[in-house]
């Protein structure tokens, strides 16, 4: 059985999903791919916007999300974050 993902892993997964869809994705796609409940996904998206990892664009057809430079940096340096977190048990 797979272990429960921690918060940092969930953030990485969401950012990877957005990145894989040419950096423009609708919330429904994030919901399918990130394996989260709707409420959890909303909370994470809100947090990622506050942290400036993603930006929300409102169109007539609905909302889309894109990764910012900070979000890309998070993905790039994720192994460092994960190693540090695992070493000191900070998740």
């Amino acid at each position: 059985m797979n272990r429960k993902r921690n918060k940092l892993e969930i953030i990485r997964d969401i950012l990877q999903v957005i990145n894989s869809k040419n950096n423009k994705i609708k919330p429904t796609h994030i919901l399918y791919k990130s394996n989260l409940s709707h409420q959890m996904m909303e909370e994470y998206l809100k947090e990622l916007i506050t942290k400036e990892f993603i930006i929300e664009t409102r169109l007539k057809t609905g909302k889309t999300y894109s990764i910012t430079e900070k979000g890309h940096e998070y993905l790039k340096k994720y192994s460092l974050i994960a190693e540090f977190t695992e070493s000191f048990g900070l998740e």
Partner: protein, 218 residues
């Protein structure tokens, strides 16, 4: 005032080098923690970095005061009287103790994953008041730091149990060595051999942490 530590003359310079090494290693942990905080903006990393900053500052103060005292000992023309010399040494150690305890309390608060700031303030004030009002400050400091390190060790033991890998075990052994060093320091108010042994265990602890840091950034 009760005695703080017995330090053998032959070990004084070596102990200053050790303290500088401790300051550098803890400073590196703090820098890396702040770097990770800047990447993920998670509060725990900021607090963890802050905890290690206080510990690093404590070692910096201790080594600077000892360097100054060493310089005074070597000077042919003494600027300080004996009483001033002893008072300055004691003041340096008090600042070291207070900053070190603030660092350990901050690290414990981080690992508890507690968001209530009152808990942090209660533990911090209780610890600081205990040292400030104690007759034997050195002894109280070592007991308190051993208790705080023991709680940190429980946290790292849980990490070893959970992750079951050598990386977590390395950090656990490092903090175990740090705990052992502070337990040994409890006896350093009576015999200098404990002061030397405590420093050696502390050096082992920080070398292991440095090794872990190297593996993280490699």
């Amino acid at each position: 005032m009760a005695s703080l530590y017995y330090i053998p003359n032959w070990f004084f310079t070596t102990s200053i080098i050790f303290e500088i090494i401790f300051a550098v290693v803890t400073g590196l942990v703090a820098i890396l923690s702040f770097k990770v905080y800047n990447l993920c903006k998670q509060r725990e990393f900021q607090l963890f970095g802050l905890g290690f900053t206080f510990i690093s500052l404590s070692y910096i103060i201790w080594s600077l005061i000892n360097l100054f005292l060493l310089d005074q000992l070597n000077e042919a023309l003494k600027v300080l009287s004996f009483n001033e010399f002893v008072s300055l040494g004691a003041l340096g150690i008090y600042f070291y103790m207070l900053l070190f305890i603030v660092g350990l309390v901050t690290l414990n608060y981080t690992t508890l994953k507690e968001k209530n700031k009152s808990i942090y303030i209660i533990i911090l004030l209780t610890s600081l008041v205990a040292i400030i009002t104690s007759f034997n400050k050195g002894f109280t400091f070592q007991i308190l730091s051993s208790i705080l390190l023991a709680f940190l060790l429980i946290h790292f033991a849980n990490q070893v149990k959970r992750n079951k890998n050598a990386k977590s075990l390395l950090v656990f052994i490092a903090f175990l060595s740090l705990l052992v060093s502070h337990i040994i320091f409890i006896f350093s108010t009576s015999q200098y051999v404990y002061y030397v042994a405590g420093h050696i265990f502390e050096l082992i602890a920080y070398m292991l942490i440095l090794a872990r840091l190297y593996l993280i950034i490699k």
